[in-house]
Amino acid sequence: MIQTKALVLGTQRLGPLFYRLKLKAPSISSLAQPGQFVHLKVDEGYDPLLRRPFSFHHTDPSQGCFDLLIKLRGKGTRLLSQKSPGEELDLIGPLGNGFPLPHSGQSPVLVAGGAGIAPLFMLAERLTSARGNLFFWGAKRKEEIFLRDEFSSLGWRLEISTEDGSIGYRGLVTDLLQAYLSKAKDNCLIYTCGPWGMLKEVARLSGQNHLPCWVSLEGNMACGVGACWGCAVRCKVEGKLGYRRICKDGPVFSAEEVIWD
């Protein structure tokens, strides 16, 4: 965990809601693991006040760089989308536990919902031996699907769903997963990130098929380092109902550990 200044290399608009923010901070880039995140100060001043957490989306340690995927949600993300090359951002990272990597013989399947693509794309980059495996990505509409060229160069098979059917399968990404698991599921290891309702369904399908599943959670966060307990999520803790911190104990949890209701 380091606090440092990152240099903004540029932003790239990926659709009406998404931007890619390219940053340079070699000390952080070299440590970053898939599923970990940075906690960054958007701007000087008191509004927005708190830092914002973003998963690593892509890293290039040889150049000391990494990308964050910014989905426009409010003032903080809008300000980030407007950063110019040469500006600096104060950031703390890498934070959180990251995704455990598959054991030999396990076949990873990735399931993203919306902006949940962010950490899973980096995981797909790292899991080079899983090329040819399936990456499911669901969104509301065509404009929220991008990165298709990057996926084809990575070698993962991308299967897309949209709620309005404007591209790919019309429906939910969990429908695609369910259909897939009903046929081939031996040795599957599921990784997922996205909205709560979708994660809950992925967790249910994994449980039903007795498959291990890692979920990456998000939540309102204050400190980002485990001190404040603001980002608590209800979990089974040593067999009892309790809380874990998304920032420190997570953001990646075993689907079985999380209390979904």
Binding site: Q3, Y46, N220, C223, A227, C228, C231
Partner: protein, 307 residues
């Protein structure tokens, strides 16, 4: 060469090398921030609340940002007295700065048990008694809102410890002065002013409060003027030192609190925004004293030129 500045201050028998303390709940038990901050630079560290039994805390969402501030409803989540002694105190003991344990409880006897359980421990240099948490059903606020109950609690604690007792008061009262006075009379060594203000945020799409518990405690720059006014008011009513807390982000903020009558200050929400805030404030306090030719920062306490 420059003026040699004395930044030390005292809270009763507790000597601080500088007046900047980490506020309870905003700096965990120190270990969480140790990779980022040299904790031994601080004036002292006030731990997250410790209650007799482990406390899981409130359902999420527990925090939300508001303009120039944040609401929290953590609910005093902590490992309990035994967990604190086993998991947290050994690290705190390794630091060279005073450690003040924030103590919370649902009933009077629970506060007493926690203080008794800590009192013989090395590395516990004093207590901050939390009688002002707005985020729990029992205890907390009720001890602050009734001067008789506050008196009984503080005098009971006074009987079981000779270590410094700092009592943290709530701003969520019509008049804070009567409670401040009885707490002083009951034997407190200092007062911490203020805990968070009760606040609320609503999601207009779901038409529900954003925090699961409905309301929470407001902190950050938004509450600084309120805290400052209360410190100033209470400073004129009591003799014991006041520890100012509420939206302190810069050395100027800290100096304002000292001028209003604070002997020391606490930094809370600002740690989340920038973990370097406390070391920066300490350095800048020194610079300010040099520029203003102030030899001892304690000479500034209550130096407001007004009234």
């Amino acid at each position: 060469m420059g003026l040699k500045v004395d930044l030390s201050v005292s809270l009763g028998s507790l000597k601080l090398r500088n007046p900047v303390l980490a506020a309870s709940g905003c700096f965990g038990f120190g270990d969480e921030y140790s990779p980022l901050v040299d904790l031994n630079l601080l004036g002292g560290l006030i731990t997250k609340a410790v209650s007799l039994n482990p406390t899981p805390g409130n359902p999420p969402p527990r925090v939300v940002e508001t303009p120039c501030g944040m609401l929290n409803s953590i609910g005093l989540a902590n490992p309990g007295l035994k967990g604190f002694l086993r998991e947290k105190l050994p690290f705190l003991r390794s630091l060279t700065v005073p450690i003040i344990v924030n103590v919370a409880g649902g009933r009077l006897w629970e506060y007493v048990e926690v203080v008794k359980g800590l009192d013989k421990e090395d590395g516990v240099d004093g207590y901050e008694i939390n009688i002002s948490c707005p985020n729990v059903e029992k205890g907390g606020m009720e001890f602050s809102s009734d001067p008789k109950i506050a008196f009984k609690l503080v005098s009971s604690l006074r009987k079981v410890t000779s270590k410094p007792l700092i009592v943290k008061l709530s701003p969520n009262l019509g008049n804070i002065v009567p409670v401040a006075k009885v707490v002083e009379e009951a034997g407190a060594d200092a007062l911490s002013l203020i805990n968070t203000l009760i606040g609320m945020a609503i999601d207009v799409r779901t038409k529900r409060p954003i925090l699961a518990r409905g309301t929470g405690g407001l902190s950050g720059p938004a509450i600084k003027p309120v805290a400052l006014a209360l410190v100033w008011k209470v400073a004129q009513a009591v003799e014991i030192p006041i520890v100012g807390v509420g939206g302190i982000f810069t050395s100027e903020d800290a100096i304002e609190f000292i001028l209003a009558g604070s002997t020391a200050v606490q930094v809370g929400t600002a740690n989340f925004v920038d973990p370097q805030t406390m070391p920066k404030i300490i350095e800048e306090l020194r610079d300010y004293c040099v520029q203003e030719k102030i030899k001892r920062i304690s000479d500034l306490i209550g130096g407001l030129e007004y009234g």
